[in-house]
Point group: C3
């Protein structure tokens, strides 16, 4: 199914090879040399394709599987039709990830710097780094090796970018120090002035913002998302954070490790997130909040108070999710009176 106009398909793979990749066991070893050409969705997969079935809620639909082979669990195996070759995996989600990584690759350019890329003579670009057409790279910028800087990207003076990073088309990066293995998506805006004003002589005067954006390793920042630089201090995005499209991260925010911030969430200035905070889409955080490690925030919530580590919150203003659900139920009951 993956369109070869866009993707490289490393297959076909024998089921024996898939056993190895997926750390899975073929129920019927005589099928070891059977080949599959594609990974496909459970109910879309057909001949020569392999699918995954691990969602218990999909039990009833499993009878409709028409794939040549199916990776599933020991528990769910019985629901897969007899004609489908079964592979049993302890963790089919991880097996899926591994097979996808093995089977498919994007066609990514490597190692060339377009003749139209405008690179300041003082900039240092690592080996095997691609720089696309009309990218602009400022004074004293340092970019590591094996990076992919797409067309139209603007990296302002003094920024540092680690190894193996990707910056998507038409994104802009300024006042930023970035680690390795980061992916900044198309159109993201990193490092602009924070929204900080002081009224003087009847005007909102912009307070000079003299901090930076410090991005750890293995961070993703989504398409058209915005991360403002710090005012006095830095804005910090910890290792392993995943920030989705159209998210706003304001000045001086500090995100710990592995936080997941879903699309269109807005984090006002000077918030501190612990590690592995997860927040659903369109959530809003007032400024100067502390959100404890492992906290989970439901989509569209509005946070106006600090959150304890591990708390699960929802609502506007946000309360513990159990209370929110009771509140919703109570309101529904009132309506029925």
């Amino acid at each position: 199914m993956a369109d070869t106009q866009f993707y490289i398909n490393n297959g076909p793979f024998t089921l024996q090879r898939i056993e190895e990749i997926c750390e899975a066991q073929l129920a019927d070893k005589s099928k070891a040399q059977t080949e599959v050409k594609e990974v496909a969705a459970m109910l879309k997969a057909g001949a020569d394709e392999i699918c995954f079935f691990y969602d218990k809620k999909a039990k009833e639909k499993a009878a409709e599987i028409k794939a040549t082979a199916c990776v599933t669990t020991a528990e769910l195996e019985a629901f897969v039709p007899a004609g489908v070759i079964k592979l049993i995996a302890a963790n089919p989600k991880v097996a899926f990830l591994k097979l996808m990584q093995a089977m498919y690759a994007e066609k990514t350019p490597r190692g060339n710097i377009a003749s139209t890329a405008k690179i300041h003579p003082s900039a240092i670009i690592g080996e095997d780094t691609f720089v696309g057409e009309y990218a602009v790279i400022g004074e004293k910028v340092r970019i590591g090796s094996h990076c992919q800087i797409e067309a139209g990207v603007v990296i302002a003076d003094g920024c540092q970018i680690g190894d193996n990073c990707r910056i998507g088309a038409n994104a802009s990066v300024s006042y930023t120090i970035m680690g390795n293995d980061c992916y900044i998506y198309a159109g993201a805006r990193i490092g602009q002035d924070g929204f900080g004003f002081q009224v003087m002589n009847g005007k909102h005067q912009r307070i000079p913002q003299v901090g930076r954006v410090i991005i750890g390793n293995d961070v993703e920042i989504g398409a058209n998302a915005c991360v403002d630089r710090g005012a006095l201090d830095d804005t910090v995005i910890g290792d392993g954070c995943r920030i989705d499209n159209l998210v706003q991260v304001a000045h001086n925010d500090k995100l710990g490790r592995g936080c997941v911030v879903v699309a269109q969430t807005g984090i006002a200035g000077s918030c501190t997130f612990g590690d592995y905070v997860v927040c659903g889409g369109q959530t809003g955080f007032a400024d100067h909040l502390t959100i404890g490690s492992g906290a989970q925030i439901g989509a569209q919530s509005g946070l106006i108070k600090d959150v304890e580590p591990g708390a699960i919150m929802m609502g506007y203003p946000a309360i513990p999710i159990k209370d929110f659900m009771r509140q919703v139920a109570t309101l529904q009951k009132m309506l029925k009176k």
Copy 2:
């Protein structure tokens, strides 16, 4: 009023010509040769200008109309002052659309490819297609005829774009197959990786996203909006959809025909919309929802369950709008106790 620095004015038009364009009837045929030069807002129009009056709520203000001519309905005609020439239209909203289309045109470039546009030799560009300065068009891209690709646009390898499409300044398009008559606004991001991760070895590992974005005919996608490509499957935007600025459409979403999605709405992954779904601004949809054809969703709602065709929903979480309004009224009453 339309600034000729920006727009072409095809006028002046005689009222006789406006009768034809608007499928309207002049109340006083002796005025057929009177000319008007501009269309203007009801209370702003003056001499040599024509306005439209069809909003019953504006009845009381109609006495202030000072335009030379006014298109209205038989029912509302009596509210228009005596000195204003009246044209009676069965459907004045459509008449307005037609007159605007006839009277005004944008100054759009056509048929030239800027010398600075970077077009891969294998790309195919149709006749009369304009490609702006510093646009970048990748390998094996196909673009139809009569298109307008604005300055700084990046179209990645393998994309297909139909006839008569417009891609606004600095937008980026990748992994996308697009029909005819589409308008992708400035800064929109189409085709980037979806937000899909699997934790392995304590890290959120990105699951390879090997789907595409399939865009039908006559689709609009607003400024700085984001449409992620599918994971295994495709993300699909049906014919005639209207997606406003800053909207997020996640991986694997399928929108039917003629859906209208107002600004800043976010649709999480793997949702399926029927035809002609309308949702107000800043609405959020949880993942894997099915929204029936003709459903209408109030602004800022949060959808966490499937919606029946034709249902009208509002709230957080969303409930039928009648229930939501009763809930609001009940809460107000409680406060007064």
Copy 3:
């Protein structure tokens, strides 16, 4: 602390000079020749650094101040440790602004037009205006003096931009008349078609949008924000407005002077804001509303009715903030039953 890779530090400054800049009084005049090199956050400042302490809530933490000097108020002075040199200011917030402006400067390019900037021969560019790499400036565009047009910016035909304006990387501007001293941030989209359709022959047909965007003096519009041009009339952003990242301003909106619109807010079409309206992040306004001068709208509110001048509103739908807070308290109480 300000990274000299990115910022110019005009220091060190003697405390005597800081007295002048901040309109503050040294408690101990013998320290007038003591120098400080940086401004830093209250609890981060150390040797050779100056901090500000004016937040009464931080009284208890003031004992931990380790800065060489601290600007504070007469009232709070007693909370600052003995070893720290004190400066007393009547208005320490304004003093902070002034010192920041005096001490730090961004490294901004001036007065050069990049050889790769594509400027139409009919465009007029004022003296000392910088135009970055690959910027595209259309026919008959007029740009004032002392402006900074960053890399990849697209300014469409006919636009006018005053003196001392800055347009951030990869932003696009069309159909716009802009005053002096404006800052349009990276990736902002100004002047595209509004979201206006009329159903005809079963299709949502776009109504030609023939208005403009009129931006006053001293306006800021944030990164990736969108301001659509007017339909018949103009979209107007008054003098001194501050619009944050990812905000949506729809067609025909009129904002008065000095409005502050925080990130991700959406204002539907044809709204009229008075002067000095403030709205928190992620707020939504239905179309055709009138919001009185000085109104304050809490974050994430949903406005569906006009708002009186000076009113303070919150909620979904928005009600006076006092009522909202009582409603929240009442719901909390119900849960405890």
